[in-house]
Amino acid sequence: MSKQKNVFQKTTAVFLIVSLLVGLVIGYFIGAATAPAPGEVVPKSQYDELQKQVESLKQQLQQLSAQQAGKPVEIVITAWTIGPEKESVYRQTNLAIAAAKLNQIFKAVGIPATVRLEGEFNTASWTDYRKKLYLALEGGTGPDIFLTAHIDTAFLAENGWIVPLDDYIKKYWNWTYYDVISGLWDSVKYKGKIWGVPQDTEARPIYYNKLLLKKLGWTDEQINDLPNKVLRGEFTLYDMLSVAEEAVKKGVVEPGYGVWHRPNAGPDWPILYLAFGGQLQDPSTGKLIADMKVWRKVFEWFYEASMARRKVILDKLTSLDWNRDIHPSIVAGKVLFWMGGTWHPPQWISTWGLGKDKFWEMLGFMLYPPSEKGGKPVTLSQPMTYFISKTCKYPEVAFLIITLATDPYLNSLHAVNSGHLAILHSQLSNTIYTQDKFLAATGYMVEYAKYQPLHPKWGDYSTAIFEVIKGIETGQFTVDTALTALRDLLKSRLGDEVIIRE
């Protein structure tokens, strides 16, 4: 009898051990199958790093929350941005998305706060937007985050309306700032500090009408080689004038429709001065420079192009309206050369009904040709910048929102839809960005781009240039009287902030 009990006990034991082993094996396989894929779990080191970086912020917000009897701190960040073109609305919406992301981070790290982004995207003119913005900033009722052109940096910094961001950028360098194309930081550096975060950049090419060039007798090869000729220094500004003059003479374009530019004040005006080799700012004193010898060359070019000489630039051009006259004429294929910006094609395509294919068929683009054979072409960029105002109660939170919006995906969405260029290296390999034919074709221009000088009185200088060129085109000035007018205007408006070199 006991032998049978022994066998039974042994069998049970074996059975138990086997089932235990089987169970372990099964359990192991089940576990392996449902285990998180490699990388889905944030490696502890990264998670710790994140915790460390937001530690000070976390402590601040925890303190605030404690003061509110443990309720999470409700942070409202106001942001004002502008197009004016509606295609650039991403400047605002990307901030909203960033705020949502920040909320998720706060939750993950256990920060007792919620962030809400409010504000508006403006389509008013730059003058009206700046008026509204400056008024609010001056009165202390301004938004926490605002977007404006980098050129405002001097103004904003001199008035103490913005917060310098060097420390934050250093702190959050690894999040995205290592990725920013380094040249862009120059556009926001003033008096040794960095004042804003670049949001996008652009280039200002000269568009040429391929169909009109064909009518002039150019072959497809010649047309497609034009941008390269500019790069090689074989096609100069005066060559461009000659081509335009020929087009007018042969009736391919109406007189005055050879070369068009913007009809109002703006960043484009110093480009030709730069093309002719002029210097705009003295690096040691920061004062602005007007080299009258170079201005003479610029004015001679404009005078040659005017209706008084080669009839290439319309005298009425500066009285025209963007919407009524300029864009419709370009889209209708009436203009041979257009000094525009990379954000114009999306406008033409979406608002003026130019088909994408028609655009590529009709228009090509190149840098501003050099002034002499063998010279270097130029263009100008005016990066848009996010700034944080001094009245912002949570500057670090605002900074984090901007940081999260400075993301290769979000920025590429904006770039592709509005015709602006990349600010991050990783955008250049982002699929949305690289798939865009136009951005791929214009990317090289950023290397040749210069910026307007950062100086509080730059606006007066730029406006004076525009006003004098306006006078040349309408036939009121000769080259000499134009030079006198510019000199007088600069002396009167800038006083000793400008160095006039004869």
Binding site: T127, N159, K316, S319, G459, T474
Partner: protein, 303 residues
Amino acid sequence: MQVSRELSKMLIITVMLTPAVLVALLFLAVPAALTILISLTELDYRFKWIWCSLNNYARLLTDPTTRLVVQATIIYVTGTLAFNTLWGLCLALLSTHVHDALGTFMRAAWLLPRVLPSVLWAMLMTWIFSPLDTGLLNSLIISMGWQPVPWTFRYYWPFLFIVNGFIGSSLSAIVFSSAIKSIPPDYIIAAKVDGASSFVIIRQIILPMIKWHIAFFVAYNTLSLLASFEYILLTLNGGPGYYTTEVMVLRAYHLAFGQYMVAMDFGYAATYVTILLVVGLVLSIVYWRVFRLRRLMIEPKLE
């Protein structure tokens, strides 16, 4: 009794007059004085009172654009004044020499541009007279096979005279025609009986009898035109070209509210305005003397 009547009179005057005086003081007198003060400062978008005494005036004298601005102002005022007065006179004469119904209709029709919101009138005028092929006149001209005319681009002063003149001549037309209608009819009848033609009657009877009205209108309109700029702002905005139609008030407006980089140069802008205020004041005093405006201040009828 006398005392309480005096008191009640004071009370009534105060109660009924105060609102008007208050408003006039706060929003007319104070701003005028403030403008003069601002012209002595460097007030701009920063809203800081930085006194600089007469620097702005010195700057005005050396500013290369001043000559053009003053020139534009003079041309604008004299041209529009001439249009307003002469055309208003024509309208008045025409409307009083036809049947009263037609005359009233005519004056009413001409009052319409004045009553229209400025934005609409400016938009219509720029569309009609646009120098491009898309303007109304030019598209009509092109359809008839002629060359388009660069209306607002080359003939900008006539354009402005028309735009502002249509507004101003309704005023003169009404004033002159009511003056003409109040001429005792005997004079006219007597002249007609004597065989005088209409032209002679106009020249020798009507015009002399409304001389005062014409002179008053000229004086009054000069003052308004010195400071008028809304239609120039809405149509040509100081162009075309380099400061061609930039009158003084418009220059001040641009300096204060229309700069590309929003410098909001209030101090300098106020300089232009102060000069206009002074000129206006001087002219008003001259008119006061010349027109013996005291006559208008007939003593009150009650107390």
